[in-house]
Amino acid sequence: MELISLLYGIYPRSENLRKAYGKWEKGQLTSDEISNKIQEESLLYFDLVKEAGINYFTDPLFNWYDLLRPIALSIEGIRLGPLSRYKETNTFYREPEIERVGKLKALNELREVEENPPFPIYHDNGSESYLHFLPGINSFVKMSKVSGSQEEARKLLRDIYIEIVKFFRIKRLLVFEPFESNNYEIYNELNNVTSTYLVVTGKFNSNGSAKFFSIIGDDPYSYSKYCDVPGVKVVDAQTTRINDGVLEKVRPYSNEFDRLIVANTESFDFLPRTIADKKIFTFKGGQ
């Protein structure tokens, strides 16, 4: 069985970047300067994941203050609400308040966004290994306060996502659903325009029409028929233990699949940077 490593989600900021953000928040750095710093740190991240031999990785999302923020800030009719706890963690996000899902604003140019870090939202290094990242549509709605129909909000968000994919000419997109859902057909049209890697939480349910390039979750037997390459979330983002015994965890699948994606369980942003930098060398069982 061929193991394919994939790292997704927000990567922890270095001390340098945290300090730079601190200065920027106090007005001691301009938006241009912090933007350059984000770019520099992103390049260092790309070097690091290359050195670690990671096959696919998302943008490090260094200017994403939470999983939803830049997208919420880029759609007319959505504003930021109060801080809200992310699942059962000690990490908080600003709850989007969706009045309506309106037009998409500019994402790929330097743009100051209220009190948040400046855009662009992606720092694509042009590599074949690079995946653009978007938060799952179902989770986005679940984590928001929605005025009106949630179903309508999901459909409009899907249309926005298609617009984003076309605008950036995204070949490979990773979509992360941190909450369980039973509506993965919402991605059918998106799957027609890009190659989607879907990271799911909990059980995967489909009425049979879903077809992704990859689905990554906890039980590949349940979703392997809905994708080309199944994956498992086995590199634990909630422990500082470096070697998670990845090979032991994937061994049971070796007779079943020719290829298996090995991914992290959550954004590495839940880890101290020093630990994250070591863990990325363990995706295929390294120390």
Partner: protein
């Protein structure tokens, strides 16, 4: 029993001379500077008219998790993890059996004992929150780790009480994580009880803020060894004046629980929001207290901010406390 005792919850913004070099002061120098900041904060508290002065705003502590965690064996701090935006805290990894290397809060107890202050309340970080905010790389379960932290907190509180002497010591166990995992309320109960097991001469407070359901806490109150529940309400109450304070409807639920159990429990009522600079007018706070008095007797109600005031400037913190005390005094006069 005194009625409507005003109290603070713990932290208060540090003066810049302390916060800017907190980690770089040498030990003896730090002691002097922390003491100076404590005295200045006590002066502010006195001017505000606050009845219980806590420990003068926690000037000896940088942060509620790191302070005890860095004084334990078996816990290693590898670096910060994000709380929100660009705000981070040092999250420890439990890599082995945990034990206390040194007391966490003895300097504060000795300082206040030396000043012969009686009206203090000592905040300590609760065992469940210590567990929930740590990486567990050693213990078999979250419950085991929470109980291990509970035993450490018991040792800490026992020694602090011994140092304090015969007078009753108010100890506030801070458990912001208490209701974040609804299926773990038994772990909360058992680990908090472990923290105070067998220690006499203390009045136990529990502070839980920003819960989405205090009902979870009320459910375990009958078997929790806690006398005073210091909770947050202002954050969820509108700021417009009204006889009906929707953010305080939960007080009724608390009273129902209090009446259903034999031991006497009291409520610390959060009346000022610590997440905004808005200074709640006296009239607004009066309404909040008066509305709560429809359910609770005045000798079972204490008046406090929602949480520690470290997130506000010292000036705003003072104004909030002053407004709170003024409102309390007006209500008390009319009782």
């Amino acid at each position: 029993m005194e009625e409507l005792v005003t109290q603070e919850i713990g932290s208060f913004r540090k003066p810049t001379y302390l916060s800017s070099k907190f980690r770089s002061y040498k030990e003896d120098e730090f002691e002097q500077v922390a003491r100076k900041a404590t005295m200045e904060t006590l002066d502010l508290f006195d001017k505000s008219g606050l009845m219980n002065i806590g420990v003068g705003g926690e000037m000896y502590r940088w942060e509620m998790y790191e302070h005890p965690a860095s004084r334990m064996d078996g816990v290693k701090i590898y670096g910060p993890v994000r709380s929100f935006d660009n705000r981070y805290y040092n999250k420890g990894s439990v890599y082995g059996e945990i034990s206390r290397k040194e007391p966490f809060h003895m300097e504060e107890i000795e300082l206040f004992k030396g000043m012969n202050k009686k009206n203090i309340k000592l905040p300590v970080t609760g065992p469940y929150t210590l567990m929930d905010w740590s990486f567990n790389d050693h213990y078999k379960s979250r419950e085991e780790l929470a109980m291990a932290f509970g035993r450490i907190m018991n040792q800490e509180i026992r020694e602090l009480k011994a140092a304090w002497g015969d007078k009753v010591l108010q100890v506030q166990i801070d458990e912001p994580a208490a209701t974040t995992h609804p299926d773990e309320m038994e772990i909360v109960r058992d680990s908090v009880n472990e923290s105070v097991k067998g220690i006499s001469g203390i009045e136990t407070h529990l502070h839980v803020c920003y819960s989405t359901d205090y009902g979870l806490l009320y459910n375990i109150a009958p078997s929790l060894d806690i006398s005073v529940y210091n909770l947050e309400f202002a954050n969820r109450d509108p700021i417009s004046l009204s006889d009906h304070r929707s953010g305080y409807d939960d007080v009724k639920r608390f009273k129902e629980v209090a009446d259903s159990i034999t031991k006497k429990i009291s409520l610390g009522l959060g009346v000022t929001d610590i997440h905004r600079d808005f200074i709640e007018p006296t009239q607004l706070i009066k309404e909040r207290i008066e509305y709560s008095l429809k359910f609770m007797e005045p000798d079972r109600l204490r008046i406090n901010p929602d949480c520690g005031l470290r997130t506000r400037s010292r000036e705003v913190g003072f104004d909030k406390l002053k407004s709170m005390v003024d409102a309390r005094n007006e209500v008390a006069k009319a009782l």
